[in-house]
Amino acid sequence: MENTRQSRAARDFIRVWTVIVLIFIYLPVICDALSSLSKSRYFSFPIKRWSMDWWVKTFNSMEIGELVRNSLVIAFAVTIISTVIAFCGALAFARYDWKGKKFFQKAILLPIFFPQPVLGLALLLWFNSIGVPLSWKTAAFAHLVWITPIVTLVIAIAVYGFDPALEDAARDLGASRFQIFRMVTLPVLWPGVWSGMLFAFLLSWGNFPLSLYTTGIDNTVPKWLYSKMVAGYSPMVPTLGTMSTLAAAVVMIAGGAAVYFIRKARSRNS
């Protein structure tokens, strides 16, 4: 059947344009990867000698090991705490009808619609004023302020698709509140919760502007990269940057695959 909505030419244009945009998005990432594979201390293109030297060096660096540990600890803490808060928040956002709902739905977006560096500086001032020493904990808190609303939205989208009659039915069939939550609500919303966790982890892992002002002595990967960038070229910058990008890609693909297989397992059978 002929598609009357978009002409052939329009569809071709959209396809080509999308490919150009995707190339635009990934070109610098590829540049990072290429320069990490050059043996030379100073980058020049075309690359004369390819090598994995900088990968090995970066991988074996004690300092970088510490950074990765910090980034991971923050990311895990943020994932767990933000998902729990956001799960409740998503129910308030999309499941229940209550008096302050419309206000809540907009208030929760404010930290997303706020420049992160400014938020980071405000938090820095706040922590200083109330006498909280900066560490990975303050950085994790800063991440929570920005990430929890995003995770709330991600889970809320799943909650919108949730039929409240399922809970009524379970109750009518004799289930207690806790049983309803454990056997019906949570399993049905699980894919949304899992996506929310993935978002939380990855957004925290890659966050730079909040970490810049709130980590104190506990450096994270993006913050360390920044300090090296402004100090001059080191092949370790694109190398660690590429490693971090790859790690994020692996987590995203593995997490996405997990959601896919859970769904698949559920809908298996003829």
């Binding site: 959209i14 209550w98 619609f113 560096p117 400014v118």
Partner: protein, 300 residues
């Protein structure tokens, strides 16, 4: 009944609001988020506001009062930084709409299920890579003997000398905030029932008129959210001007940072931050009044 009416007439007090919150299931669920926002968003901003009216160079808020910090906005070059930030943000927003719109239409109507899933995964992924790493890639691309220059040299050419310029700052912002514009527009375009477009075409409207009079107005909530988000984020951005822009222009956040750290003048930095927050907040709250989130997100 009468209580209700009374409440509608008089604005509910804070205590009444908190009581409402605790009384309803939804309100109780919203509590943890509200507490987090209070401690991590409202309180820090209130503290910044407090500092902004303290005596210049003081390190405590709420003990002195002065408007001198706001006067500093018009002395020296700070107002230029504001102008640059707003200008760059407006430019970024204006240019990202036409860049993202066709991609969004493609994701909703052309690529099919798997295709648009692939495109959305590919365009959400950059959000998980810190912007400095991605911006650094552009330095490697544009620098002397970099990817572009090196490639052109093979053809006896030369790469353009664009790094560390205001134009490059704008380029960096367009690059960084592309996904933030794309996804709201996708939500917006998905709000347009395909039948309406078929119907409009069937009723004799040209493709352009259909787009102008049917598709765009219906997709507008998403486009507006994308524009707002992009504008707000790029108005407060700092990494682009520092990394690819080489501080060829000072942006507002940079000024705040300098006041906080090098100048050790917290009240002045706070005044800049408050001014920026005021602009952003006014814009956001104005736009938020016009949108219904249940409609935009709950459609699926």
């Amino acid at each position: 009944m009468s209580d209700k009416n009374a409440e509608k007439i008089a604005k509910p007090s804070l205590i009444a609001r908190i009581q409402d919150l605790i009384a309803s299931k939804g309100g109780r669920c919203a509590m943890p988020v509200y507490i987090l926002m209070l401690l991590g968003f409202i309180a820090p901003l209130a503290m910044v506001a407090g500092f902004s009216v303290a005596e210049p160079k003081s390190f405590t808020a709420f003990t002195s009062f002065s408007l001198a910090n706001f006067a500093a906005l018009f002395e020296g070059s700070v107002w230029k930084s504001f102008a640059w930030s707003i200008g760059l943000a407006a430019f970024t927003t204006a240019i990202l709409v036409p860049i993202c719109y066709p991609v969004a239409v493609g994701m909703v109507r052309v690529f099919g299920r798997m295709g648009s899933l692939a495109v959305s995964v590919l365009s959400v992924f950059p959000m998980f890579v810190s912007e400095n790493v991605r911006l650094y890639g552009w330095i490697l691309f544009f620098t002397k003997k970099g990817i572009l220059d090196g490639t052109l040299a093979l053809l006896n050419g030369q790469g353009p000398d664009v790094l560390y310029t205001p134009g490059m700052t704008a380029f960096g912002m367009v690059y960084t905030y592309l996904p933030y514009m794309l996804f709201p527009i996708v939500l917006g375009v998905a709000l347009v029932p395909p039948d309406l477009i078929t119907a409009a075409r069937d009723l004799g409207a040209s493709r352009f008129r259909t787009w102008r009079e049917i598709e765009l107005p219906l997709a507008m909530p998403g486009v507006l959210i994308g524009m707002l988000l992009t504008f707000v984020l790029s108005a407060g951005a700092v990494a682009e001007s520092k990394i690819v822009g080489g501080e060829s222009v000072m942006v507002v956040t940079n000024e705040v940072n300098v006041a906080f750290s090098y100048s050790q003048n917290w009240p002045m930095g706070a005044a800049f931050a408050v001014t920026l927050t005021f602009i952003i907040g006014a814009l956001t709250i104005y736009a938020f009044r016009k949108i219904d989130l249940d409609k935009i997100l709950g459609r699926a």
